[in-house]
Amino acid sequence: MEPRLAPMLKDAAITAFVAAALGIFIVGFRTVDIGTGLGFEYHFVDLAIAVATVFCGRLGLSLAANGRRWPSMALGAVLILVGIAPMRMPSDFLHWFVALAGVLLIGRGISPWATDAVTSVQASPSGERAREVGTKWFGWMLLAAAVLLPFMPFVDQKTMDLSVLILTYVMLGWGLNIVVGLAGLLDLGYVAFYAVGAYSYALLSTQFGLGFWAVLPIAGMIAALFGVLLGFPVLRLRGDYLAIVTLGFGEIIRLVLLNWVDLTNGPAGIGSIPGPTLFGAVFSETPPAGQRSFSEMTGIAFDANHRLIYLYYIILLLALITNAFTQRMRRLPVGRAWEALREDEIACRALGINPTNTKLTAFAIGAMFAGFAGSFFAAKQRFISPESFVFIESAIILAIVVLGGMGSQIGIVLAAVLLIGLPEWFRELGSYRMLAFGLAMVLIMVFRPRGIVAHRRPSILLHPPNGRPPYLGGGR
C-alpha cells in the first residue's frame, strides 16, 4: 500500500507542536540580570530552528518507518548541510543539534541494512568466532593506541590530562567490575575505598616520607582490609539492602575524613603530597635537597610534560594490571564461583560454595584496586580533600560498569571514554553540556539496554574453535 504523506505531515506537526510547547519555557525565555532586577531575554529564533529540526526529524523517521528510506536520508543530508552551513545561528549548539539530527536520520536509514549484515554474519557458524577475533583485535589496537598516545603530534597537555583522567576511571571501572559485574554485588560506596587508598598514600608519604612505589601495595592492602571490614557484616544482605549499606559506608568514610581533623586535616585537605618517582628521580625543575630530578638523571632538558607522561604510563600500567588480574581470576575457580553467585546464590549454597567467603574475596579485591587507584590519584593531584570522594563519583564509576555491559572489560573502556571524555569534549557547549551527556546515556540505554558490550565470553570452552585442549587456557 502506498504510504500517504498527509498523516505523516500531521504527525510531524503534532510532534513539532509538543516540542514548541515544551521548549518555549526552556529555550524561549532566559532570565537575565538587567541591573534594576531580573528581565527576560528572548530566544525565539533558537526555538524556531529547534522546532523546525524536530519537525524534519519526525517526518524523516516516519518516512523511514514506512519504507521510504531514500527520502528520509535525503532529508537527513539536508539537515546536515544546514547544520554545517556557514550561516549565522544564534548559538553553536544549534549547528550541532541540526547536524546531529541529520546524522541520526541517515543512521536510521542505513540501520536496516547494517542490521541485516550483522545478523547474517552472526548467524553463520564463523560469526561467533569472528566477533571473538574482532574484539581481541580491537582490544590490542586500543592498547597500541594507548601506549603510543603521548608521542602523537596532535596531543597537547589538555588531551594528556584528560587521558589520565579517563584511564583512572577505566581502572576504577575494572576494579568495580569484579564486585558488580562478576560477583553481582551492587556497591554504591566504591569511592570509599578510593578515598582510603588516597589518604593512605597522602598520610604515609607526608608523615613518614615513604615513596609512591612503597606505599602503593600498602594502600591497596589497607583498602582491601576496609573492604573485608565492611563486607563481613553486610554481605549477608542481598541486592537493594547491600546497595543501601554500601552507600551509607561511602558517606561514613567521607564524613570521617571531613571530621577527624587531627588525622586528615578535615575539609582543608592534605597538600604538598610528593609525586611518584622514577628510580628515585623526581619530576621537578628544582628537586628537593638530596634528590635528583628526571632531567638531571637522563640529561634530557626539563619539560613540564614529562611528569604528565610519566603519570600517564603509571596509570596505564596499573589499569592493565587490573585487567590482566581480572581476566585471570575469571578463569580460576573463584572467578567462576563469583559469576555463579551472581546468577544464583541459593544454587551455590546447595553446591557447597561458601557464599560469604566468596563474596568477601570479590569485595576485598575490588577494594584493593580502588586503593591502588586512590594512591595514584593522590600522587597525581598532590592535594586531596574529602571533596573529591563524594557519592557522585561512585555513581559515575557504577554507570561506567553498567553502560559498558556488566562483566565486559572492553565495554568499560568504551563507557569510560564516553562518560568521562564526552563531558570534557563538550565543554564548548556550555550549559548544554550535561544535556548532551544525558542524551548519550539515554541513547546507550535505548540501543544497547544490556550495555555497550553485552556478550558474555565463556571462561572455558570444551570445544575451542582452534582445536586446542580446553585446559590450556582457551583464549581470553
Binding site: 575457580p333 567462576r336 544464583d344 546447595a350 553446591l351 557447597g352 560454595i353 557464599p355 565463556p458
Partner: protein, 270 residues
C-alpha cells in the same frame, strides 16, 4: 538390612502457626532410591529444605552416616551440608547458572576441590602445574557427565538456552559433580514428556547402581516412582502415613484415602 545413609528422626517444622511437617521419621539407605510422595502441600519440599539446610527444623534430628562418623545436618551451615556431609540437591524450579555454559556449571559444582587445588587462587594465578592437572581432571569429570546426559555437543552453550529436559538433566549432573553420598531430587520429572522421563529413569538407576549414590526423590509422576524406587515414604498433611516397598505402599488403605479421598468423598464426587 544395611545401615541407613540418612536418618530423619522426629522432624517437625513449624512456620508460625502452620505445622508444615509433623513428627516425621524415616531413613534412606545407600545405593537405594527412596521416594517421598504425597499430595500437594503434604510437606515434601519442606522435608527436603530441612535436610539440605535451607530451613532450620523446629524439632528433630537429621543424621548422615558416612563411614563410622555420624554427622548432624541441623547443626551445619547451609553450604557445609553439601561439602562435608555430601548431600547434594536439585530444585523444583530449575536453578542452573543460566548465563554460564553447561561446562562451567559442572565446573562450579567442583568448586571446593578446585579451590584447594588452586591454593585458594594463589597457585592458580601463577599457573602451577598441580592446579592445571586438577583442572584438567575436573574437565574430564564434567565431560564424562555431559556424555552421560547426552549434552556433550552443547557443552559450550549457555545453560539457559538448553531445552527444558536438558536443563533438568544438567542440574542432576551438576549435583553429581559435587561427588555426593546422597542426591536429593525435587520433582526431577516435572514437565518432562514420556520419552524424557524414561531417560530420566535410566539416569537415576545408573546413578544408584554405577555411582553407588543414595537417591532421595520427591516425585508426582507415578511411572517414575513405581518403576525405579526401592522404598517409598508417603506424607499427607505433614505427617507420615505409610512407608515401605512400592508394591506394599500402593495397596495401603491410608495412601489410597490420601490420594483418592475417603469413601464418603467419593460418593459425594460421583
Amino acid at each position: 538390612m544395611s545401615a541407613a545413609l540418612i536418618e530423619v528422626e522426629h522432624l517437625t517444622m513449624r512456620f508460625g502457626g502452620l505445622l508444615a511437617v509433623d513428627d516425621v521419621s524415616f531413613s534412606a539407605r545407600p545405593r537405594e532410591i527412596t521416594a517421598i510422595i504425597g499430595p500437594n502441600g503434604a510437606g515434601k519440599t519442606t522435608v527436603f529444605n530441612c535436610i539440605t539446610g535451607f530451613y532450620m527444623p523446629t524439632v528433630g534430628r537429621l543424621t548422615v552416616h558416612a563411614g563410622d562418623r555420624p554427622m548432624l545436618l541441623e547443626r551445619m551451615m547451609g553450604h557445609e551440608i553439601a561439602r562435608k556431609a555430601g548431600v547434594a540437591r536439585t530444585f523444583q524450579n530449575i536453578r542452573l547458572f543460566s548465563g554460564m555454559t553447561a561446562l562451567e556449571n559442572l565446573l562450579v559444582a567442583q568448586h571446593n576441590r578446585l579451590m584447594r587445588a588452586s591454593g585458594w587462587s594463589v597457585l592458580g594465578l601463577i599457573g602451577a602445574a598441580s592446579f592445571q592437572q586438577a583442572e584438567a581432571a575436573a574437565i574430564e569429570t564434567a565431560r564424562g557427565w555431559l556424555e552421560r546426559i547426552g549434552l556433550l555437543a552443547d557443552a559450550d552453550r549457555p545453560a539457559g538456552e538448553l531445552p527444558y529436559g536438558a536443563q533438568r538433566r544438567l542440574e542432576i549432573a551438576r549435583a553429581m559433580c559435587t561427588t555426593p553420598r546422597l542426591l536429593c531430587l525435587d520433582e526431577p520429572a516435572a514437565g518432562l514428556n514420556p520419552h524424557e522421563s524414561s531417560e530420566l529413569n535410566e539416569l537415576l538407576v545408573s546413578i544408584r547402581d554405577r555411582d553407588g549414590v543414595g537417591v532421595l526423590l520427591i516425585e508426582h509422576d507415578m511411572s517414575v516412582v513405581m518403576s525405579i524406587s526401592d522404598h517409598l515414604v508417603v506424607l499427607d498433611y505433614g505427617r507420615k502415613i505409610a512407608e515401605g516397598p512400592p508394591a506394599q505402599v500402593r495397596l495401603d488403605p491410608a495412601v489410597i484415602r490420601a490420594y483418592l479421598g475417603a469413601e464418603e468423598d467419593e460418593a459425594a464426587n460421583a
